[in-house]
Amino acid sequence: MTRSRGVILTVLVAVILARAIDIVSAQAAPFGAPHPAGALSASGLTGWIFAQQAAFYRSLSGFIQASKEDGAAMWSLFGISFLYGVFHAVGPGHGKAVISSYLVANEETWRRGIVMSFASAGIQSVVAIVVVAIAAVLLGATATAIGLTVHIVEIVSYGLVILIGLRLLYVKGRGFLFACRELTWTQAPVLTLASGHSGNTFSLHPPRLGAMTMRGGQCMVEGCADHEHGFHCHDDHHASAWGHAHGPEPAELAGAGGWRRGLSAVVAVGLRPCSGAIIVLIFALAQDLFWTGVGATLLMGLGTAVTVAAIATLAMSARQIASRLSKARAGFGVLTMRAIEVGAAALIVAFGTLLLAGYMASEQLWMFTG
């Protein structure tokens, strides 16, 4: 009981720490004084970040205009765009939560987490550029039409997020049920054994016995040849023995199929272009500086990727700590990890639904333009 509570507590602390580090590291970034207009929602560090990204955003128009005459201003513009991306991505949207949950649910590799973060941010930039290039440059569409396009793309993106979440929920939910069943199977012999001893032994030893019988249970399951995943009896030295009891093996995850799965999440998240990028691109276009706008958008994407990757990495390390702790407590440990995965999958569905319902991330471009 206390051990499993410890696992959970550690995950909690890690997540809170992740949030704190995220904010503090942004705080330590070496640029100017807080924007006075930040009084709007200046609540400590969050308010500060809010004010910073607003200040960066507002300075973009000046830099875009300046880069018309002055080539050096273009580099300042790119620098500011990057920083804006870093700060802006702390806010809603940009798929931090979806990507992080996806990585936690799937126990993906570090490398893949970073690649996925960068890929989704890259797609996001490219989608913004493509939408503006086709709609505004080629077709001369109005803001209303562009807003509508973005809105439709958004709905598709959120729908895909829900689908990915549901698929994960199904796969992980089954894993959780298997873990539950195994635990109940192994509980019975433990209790019989323990009841033969004194009450004192009962309270001290069951976890250990549970762990041993648990392994026995797994080996028996392996005997079922038609089980689709196929179980393995791992030795103690195999680090991921318990973490993978019902999931694909690491080699399998890193294979081509794994990448394809990851790609679907990246595309679903990346589809939705950032309103800020669209506005900056159209502003640049109005100044006959479309390509400067494209450069700024790509750098914004790079900045966004850095933040998303940082948060995703922290989420994954939280999971890793939890999994290391849970390994010490076989039966319930496995169950806890399975539960975390199910929770993460459920969360992706929740994100998708909330986004679709317009509850989260209110970046309504159509507020004034229909």
Binding site: R5, G44, Y57, I146, S362, E363
Partner: protein, 213 residues
């Protein structure tokens, strides 16, 4: 035990949720002038706004609007956009919230609206008549976006005025630094978020106060 583990896990995952919530950020900046309209007998009839959008949003809104001369837009050329603006703003109650002695006032559809293009920015002019003229000792008008997607800011020069009631006293309040109580509420936003109907954003609203004898 299992239930305990599950509930704690969901708590952890809800924390993830907040990584992506709570901080909306503006993409539209509006500096505004507002005129509170009174009749000679001292009852308020409506508000007349002039909202100037930031240069980037102005360029965005102007995208694809046909115009005869590059860099210039006439009021007629912008008429359709002004119509779109007013139609879209209806859903948000024109971001204008009024109370007479604490009682909420209702606005009817706006009239007399047009867009003006000057110094690379768009200014939206419109008047918002009250459904029924209001007589009260104190009338409070707030202009803000509860979702903070639009950042409203009083114009620097003479941001508010009253017309038709020289006896009334006009004051206005800038969004203020949060008080300790508000600061506390802000710090709890992550664990106890605002629900959709919350009017917490109004703490940071631009307030116009008209006091009549």
């Amino acid at each position: 035990m299992i239930r305990h583990a599950c509930s704690c896990t969901s708590a952890v995952l809800w924390l993830f949720l907040f990584l992506d919530r709570a901080e909306a950020h503006p993409h539209v900046w509006v500096t505004f002038h507002s005129e509170v309209l009174y009749t000679a007998d001292g009852s308020m009839t409506g508000v007349r706004h002039a909202w100037t959008f930031d240069d980037m949003f102005s360029a965005y809104a102007l995208q694809g609007i046909p115009h005869a001369k590059k860099g210039q837009y006439t009021r007629e050329e912008l008429a359709s956009l002004a119509q779109v603006n007013m139609d879209s703003l209806k859903e948000y109650g024109y971001f204008t919230f009024a109370r007479a002695d604490g009682k909420k006032l209702k606005f009817s559809d706006p009239g007399d609206y047009w867009l003006e293009y000057k110094n690379a920015t768009l200014t939206l002019h419109f008047s918002l008549p009250l459904k029924a003229a209001a007589t009260a000792k104190a009338i409070q008008i707030e202009v803000y976006d509860p979702t903070i997607f639009v950042d409203f800011e009083f114009a620097k020069d003479k941001p508010v005025s009253v017309s038709g009631a020289p006896q009334c006293l006009l004051t206005y309040d800038l969004p203020h630094q949060p008080t300790p109580a508000e600061q506390l509420r802000l710090s709890q936003l992550d664990s106890d978020p605002l629900d959709a109907s919350s009017s917490y954003g109004e703490t940071f609203a631009n307030k116009i106060l008209v006091k009549c004898p």
